[in-house]
């Protein structure tokens, strides 16, 4: 075990303000220009907010919900809460009313900080589920002018009364901070999970800081790093990167202007340390491929030639293997004409350490990024572990492993193949849910991950097979690993999401979601007319394209002895996108297999009973929580 930490997050802030006082701590693009705040200024802002909390009567141990897109003010609000012994509870900003209501009620928040009118509306709508909620603070005043302000305060008003507050509450703030110790609760993060209600994972300052420290040492992160905070604030990853590691190392966290400008902002910032779930890398690749399709002939063939070369030698170069002089020369020319500019367009020119996690990434996608010279690595983590369980060291990166246990992390695989771990980052408990805590974490601190895997004897790397409960057997006894097949299919830019069925059945089938951007672009180039997603998804030509992809994947699978049972015999293209608002995906966009199988029961039946088409009606939830129905007749194709 490594040494215990003796810091809390607010203490790290004070340390940084002293040590790196004039260095930039946060940037946010506002009115087209990057505004910045030094560590000293951040310390000041956090204090002012903390004093404002005291003026509102926030007590020790109170829970403060935070809802909104990534903005420095919201990060400060969380640290300010910790400063006075309160606990921040970030909530997914795109969650629909019911989910927000559940979390607010479950954690009994007394104060909510909302980014804008949309979030305020959602909170107000759910307030009878959360009797404890007394006040709401909002950042963006737009549209809120005519609201009843008896319980609603503007963020600016916290700063307005600062002199007065300082006089009255400074002593109390100092006293409260004294009492905050490393083993106290740092944050409660609600995980959406692929089943059931969200669970509140309680993490201490020790959990967050030791996980941040160990992982920073692992990748030699320093005060010089630059990151872009664009992933949901309620996700443990963002909390670790934008607060844990940022405060531990003292590096700068940049917030984009709006979610739509993320790509521009990424290029302008050029992060040196970058983290994204596979979904982001997939969509980056899709945009990139579409632009190549639209490019001139010379550019296109140049891209294809050099990418072919990169596929051959790029990954070996990355891992430091020797290649022939001629090959290395061609790669260098490619670097000038293709790889370098491509990295620049993706905004990843300066990435020194890049990570993907959250879900398995398709090996083809992973290798694509590595072959053009981006040091992309995989890590395996969980909210319950303060992210880090295993990660790949530089130079030991494989597409199908997730690396070695981090510092202080112990791993164990039980006889059923399930992975268990124990680490300094291991969570305290699930909030108000002792049964779930008990079934996940035993008295010695070992946590069950619910994933199946094994350790590769040759190099000690952990390999994940699948969610333990997803892996099954075909009727003929062969292995059924849906995730593996799905990832293979998702490599094609035209396929956004797919769900493969086949557990205990004769053969495998698949439901496919097309990627509207990619397929829409194809339609435009080929004069295919459509008026809606549904119409495009059902287009016979689109079906042909998808059929072709499925065939290619099947050929690959047939070659693999172990997975030959997973060949997809029939498929359909879904008439609607799978959506977290409908409960079909988690907020981090993982497929909820069980929900989908139940909801589209009629489609699954049709996939197996040999019918050529099926009429179906399904419920959709709009962003504001209203519900509606769409119906369609879907064709089913044999491969």
């Amino acid at each position: 075990m490594t040494t215990a930490v003796s810091y809390t997050i607010p203490e790290l802030l004070d340390r940084n303000a002293e040590k790196y006082g004039d260095q930039i701590a946060n940037r946010e693009k506002e009115f087209g220009i990057w505004q910045s705040w030094t560590w000293k200024e951040v310390q000041n802002k956090v204090e002012e907010i903390a004093l404002g909390y005291l003026a509102l009567g926030i007590k020790e141990g109170d829970h403060i919900a935070v809802l909104g897109r990534n903005r420095p003010k919201l990060y400060w609000s969380m640290v300010a809460a910790q400063r006075i012994g309160a606990v921040p509870v970030p909530i997914y900003q795109d969650a629909v009313g019911d989910e927000i209501g559940y979390v607010l009620g479950h954690c009994e928040a007394v104060l909510a900080i909302a980014g804008d009118q949309e979030q305020v509306d959602k909170i107000l709508e759910q307030q009878d589920k959360c009797k404890s909620l007394k006040q709401i603070i909002y950042l963006d005043p737009r549209g809120l002018r005519n609201y009843d302000h008896s319980r609603l305060h503007s963020f600016a008003s916290l700063h307005d009364a600062v002199d007065e507050n300082r006089k009255r509450y400074e002593k109390e703030m100092k006293a409260r901070q004294e009492k905050v110790s490393p083993e106290k609760i740092c944050v409660i993060l609600y995980t959406s999970g692929t089943t059931g209600n969200p669970k509140g994972v309680v993490l201490s300052h020790t959990n967050i800081i030791s996980a941040s420290r160990d992982s920073s040492e692992f990748d030699s992160l320093s005060q010089k790093e630059t990151v872009l905070a664009y992933l949901p604030m309620a996700w443990v990853g963002d909390f670790i990167f934008s607060i844990g590691q940022a405060y531990w190392n003292g590096f700068c966290v940049n917030c984009p202007e709006s979610p739509q400008t993320m790509m521009h902002d990424l290029r302008e910032i050029g992060p040196s340390y970058f983290f994204a779930p596979p979904r982001v890398f997939e969509s980056l690749l899709t945009t990139c491929m579409i632009r190549i399709e639209d490019a001139g002939k010379i550019k296109r063939s140049m891209f294809q030639y050099f990418m072919k070369h990169a596929r051959k030698v790029g990954v070996p170069i990355m891992t430091g293997e020797k290649i022939s002089l001629a090959e290395s020369l061609i790669y260098r020319i490619g670097e000038i004409f293709v790889y370098g500019p491509l990295r620049n367009v993706l905004g990843l020119s300066r990435v020194r350490v890049g990570y993907t996690a959250g879900e398995a990434i398709g090996p083809e996608i992973f290798d694509f990024y590595r072959s053009i010279g981006i040091n992309l690595k995989q890590l395996y983590g969980q909210t319950e572990a303060s992210v880090f369980i295993t990660s790949q060291p530089d130079g030991e990166v494989e597409a199908d492993s997730v690396g070695v246990p981090g510092q202080g992390v112990e791993l164990r695989i039980d006889d059923r193949g399930e992975i268990f771990y124990r680490s300094p980052g291991t969570f305290i408990e699930y909030y108000k849910n002792p049964e779930a805590t008990k079934s996940t974490k035993d008295k010695d601190g070992w946590v069950a991950t619910g994933d199946a895997g094994y350790i590769d004897e040759s190099n000690g790397h952990l390999k994940i097979i699948d969610r333990a409960k997803d892996v099954g057997k075909m009727a003929n006894g062969k292995l059924f690993a849906p995730k593996y097949v799905e990832n293979k299919l998702k490599f094609f830019p035209d396929i956004l999401e797919t769900v493969v069925f086949g557990n205990n059945r004769e053969f495998c089938t698949a439901m496919v979601n097309i990627d509207l951007v990619s397929v829409g672009n194809w339609a435009e180039r080929n004069n295919v007319v459509y008026s809606s997603y549904q119409e495009l998804a059902g287009h016979p030509e689109v079906y042909k394209i998808i059929q072709n992809y499925v065939r290619q994947v099947n050929e690959d699978l047939a070659r693999d002895e172990k997975l030959s049972g997973c060949i997809v015999k029939r498929f359909l293209v879904l008439h609607k996108e799978l959506d977290a608002d409908d409960g079909e995906l988690t907020r981090t966009r993982k497929v909820r297999r069980g929900v989908i199988e139940d909801k589209y029961n009629d489609l699954v039946t049709a996939l197996y009973d040999g019918s050529k088409e099926i009429h179906t009606t399904s419920e959709v939830t709009y962003e504001d929580g209203r519900k509606g129905f769409i119906s369609a007749t879907l064709k089913i194709l044999d491969v």
Binding site: F31, G32, N146, S258, T261
Partner: protein
Amino acid sequence: MGQTETTNKNDILMDIVNVTLRFGGVKALSDVSFNIQRGEIRAIIGPNGAGKSSMLNVINGFYTPQEGEIWFEGKLRPRLKPHQIAYQRIARTFQNIALFEGMTVLDNMMTGRMIYMKSGLLSQLAWWGKAEREETENRLIVEKIIDFLEIPAIRKTPVGMLPYGLQKRVELGRALAAEPMLLLLDEPMAGMNNEEKEDMCRFILDVNEELGTTIALIEHDMGVVMDLADRVVVIDHGEKIADGQPDEVRNDQNVIDAYLGVSH
């Protein structure tokens, strides 16, 4: 809508008194009178060819009526020269989009600030001193409008590449950049799909409520007019046939006849 609580109900920004406009022998407007109060959303409606766009052109001074008076901010307005029209702080959008297609959203909106830029040619060429200061100040105002209209993602995109609904929003942005006292919108929802219409409605209401801008608009979509407007004036064959709250106007027999058609 809280149209009149925040503003003084009797505060009249523009008074149009007995205006008659002729093009040769054709009477486009005859003896039309109505007023626009500070802070309200005033709709001008009527069937095709009723004279609505002519009315808008009279309001902003582009046409000078042969008879009648226009009182703006309590002063009788004389016949204006083209450059004076630009300086009177009445901004407008057009029925057909009239933006510079090859220029970016930002540059298009900066043209709305033209009237506030006073630095000389030399200073502008060197982009030094007053010119630089002016550009920075004006850019901030434009950026705030970009933020207000939620279009930061397309700030640097040439306008010609944008979909229709967004171009309309940019045009609104350019008009707002002039910080008008009176904003004229000529069919802001024409040719839009429902979603774009909803967006535009919300922006018009926001402009009115948050920025306090007085708005006069022409619109065909009756649903939109009834939702948005504080008061509605109806014109048919160049004559005013009704004037009042949306509900009154909707039930007015003359208006119903004008829209459904009766034999004259």
